[in-house]
């Protein structure tokens, strides 16, 4: 067994993430169990009980309390962790803004799941997409290994003194949280070297009283928001830098802000985020062997939204199809809207069509990807539908 594969084990995605969190040594963990996040926090609770992880694990009455606990803990200098999904994330909504506004660098795995009503526990990304403007950084991962690695990277990004912004590591519920696959678990010592202890410059300390999240009247509120805006822009460089540092230590790289698959010479580029990327890569392999110039651009960092990197990556494409597991009811959907906005003031012009797919856990298949590519090809001549629900079952409507 080579050194590179020494920690490779077949484990459940949730265990792999919990193991990664353990390697990040949070001082305080607070979470409320909710499917499909439950196994992550159950595993962490077990690690604390077994003495493997020296953390305070606070069980609370709700997600609202879980995240609120972390505000207090982090303000006192603790490294903090939580995880949630769907309705739980929705219940955190008010606290999300308090955490980001007070510049509390919480790291939280979101096990992406549909929102009710109608009640549905399966995967899509409406939950995290709905929180895109809450001031948190958001990384969307493709597989369990990336979820593990991004969790460690997340602390380094969030806790940077120039950034100090909370971060969601978004992983598709069930598809990634409940899958068993071979994963290179993090080495504790290497993780410690990569991520030193958290030592914030300002903490709540009775000997030196301070106020976090003080009142701001109209004369200063705008400037506080501007500081958050600026910190997210600084995170653009930091995310890329941390991904490269991670590569140096651990030998794995997934792109910083974006990753691409056959984009360089592609005429048709599919832009997406999350675990559907695996399926799309398989579809691209098949289509490439048939001579179709199809490529994939993965948006890894959705917040900050990498405008310049997207312009650079997409400048030569002749048509773009965006596929995403969310819908902005009354508008279109998050990624396609942001992507179109990012190109408008540049001289890059090509048809862009958007698809919402995989809502409430509906599978996205290779056949679906072929369908999207066919529609994108047609859109090169004229756009028939700018935004649509893929595979809509009209027979039951």
């Amino acid at each position: 067994m080579s050194e590179k594969t020494a920690n490779r084990k077949v484990v459940e995605g949730s265990y792999a993430v919990a193991h990664a969190v353990m390697c990040c040594r949070p001082d305080v963990i607070s979470a409320y169990p909710i499917t499909p996040q439950t196994h992550i926090v159950e595993n962490l609770s077990q690690m604390v009980a077994d003495g493997e992880l020296d953390s305070e694990f606070l069980t609370v009455d709700s997600e609202f309390s879980a995240l609120s606990v972390l505000i207090g803990s982090s303000a006192c200098g603790a490294r903090t962790y939580s995880s949630t999904t769907s309705q739980g994330l929705a219940l955190m909504y008010e606290v999300l803004y308090n955490v980001s506004g007070m510049r509390i660098p919480v790291v939280m795995n979101v096990a992406n799941r549909a929102l009710g009503a109608p009640l549905n526990i399966w995967n899509d990304q409406q939950d995290a997409m709905g929180a895109r403007d809450a001031g948190w950084l958001q990384i969307y991962v493709e597989d369990v290994q990336e979820a593990v690695d991004a969790t460690l990277q997340a602390y380094k990004i969030a806790e940077d003194a120039q950034i100090r912004t909370p971060i969601m590591v978004c992983m598709d519920g069930f598809i990634l949280t409940h899958v068993y696959e071979p994963v290179e678990l993090l080495d504790k010592e290497k993780a410690r070297e990569f991520l030193p202890d958290y030592k914030p410059a300002d903490i709540l300390d009775p000997a030196h009283p301070k106020t976090f999240g003080a009142f701001a009247d109209p004369s200063t509120y705008t400037e506080f928001r501007y500081q958050q805006f600026e910190a997210q822009l600084k995170a653009l460089d930091k995310i890329e830098k941390v991904a490269r540092e991670f590569e140096e230590t651990f030998g794995r790289y997934y792109g910083g802000l974006l990753d691409s698959y056959f984009v360089e010479d592609a005429e048709i580029v599919i832009v997406t985020l999350g675990s559907v990327i695996g399926t799309i890569k398989d579809a691209i392999d098949a289509m490439r062997s048939e001579g179709k110039k199809v490529g994939l651009l993965k948006v890894r960092s959705y917040r900050p939204f990498p405008v310049q990197a997207l312009r650079k990556a997409l400048k030569d494409a002749s048509v773009i199809a965006v596929i995403e597991k969310d819908v902005a009811i009354g508008g279109e959907a998050g990624l396609v809207t942001d992507l179109k906005a990012s190109l408008y003031n540049s001289n890059i012009r090509m048809p862009i069509i958007g698809f919402t797919a995989g809502l409430g856990g509906r599978d996205i298949t290779i056949k679906d990807i072929r369908k999207i590519v066919a529609k994108a090809e047609a859109a090169r001549k004229s756009i028939e539908t700018e935004f649509q629900f893929l595979d809509l079952r009209t027979e039951i409507l």
Binding site: R103, T211, E223, F224
Partner: protein, 85 residues
Amino acid sequence: MAIKAGSLVEACSTRITKTGAWRTFVPIFDHEKCIKCSLCEIYCPEGCIHQEEGLFVPDLDYCKGCSVCANECPRMAVTMVLEEK
């Protein structure tokens, strides 16, 4: 005042952050009518009515103009007046 990320400030920040700016009506005290019962001081939700040389006065740096003092005064010694700035 320079601001720090995270609305982080030294303790007792309201000593420099005046919060009375959104007042529309200002309480005017008629000290002739006042019987020194202290009800205005007790009821003031901002705790900003205090005595100066034996007379009850509001601290206008923090008074929001809520009218509670005028409402509670048994002698109708407090009148709310539109404050033009």
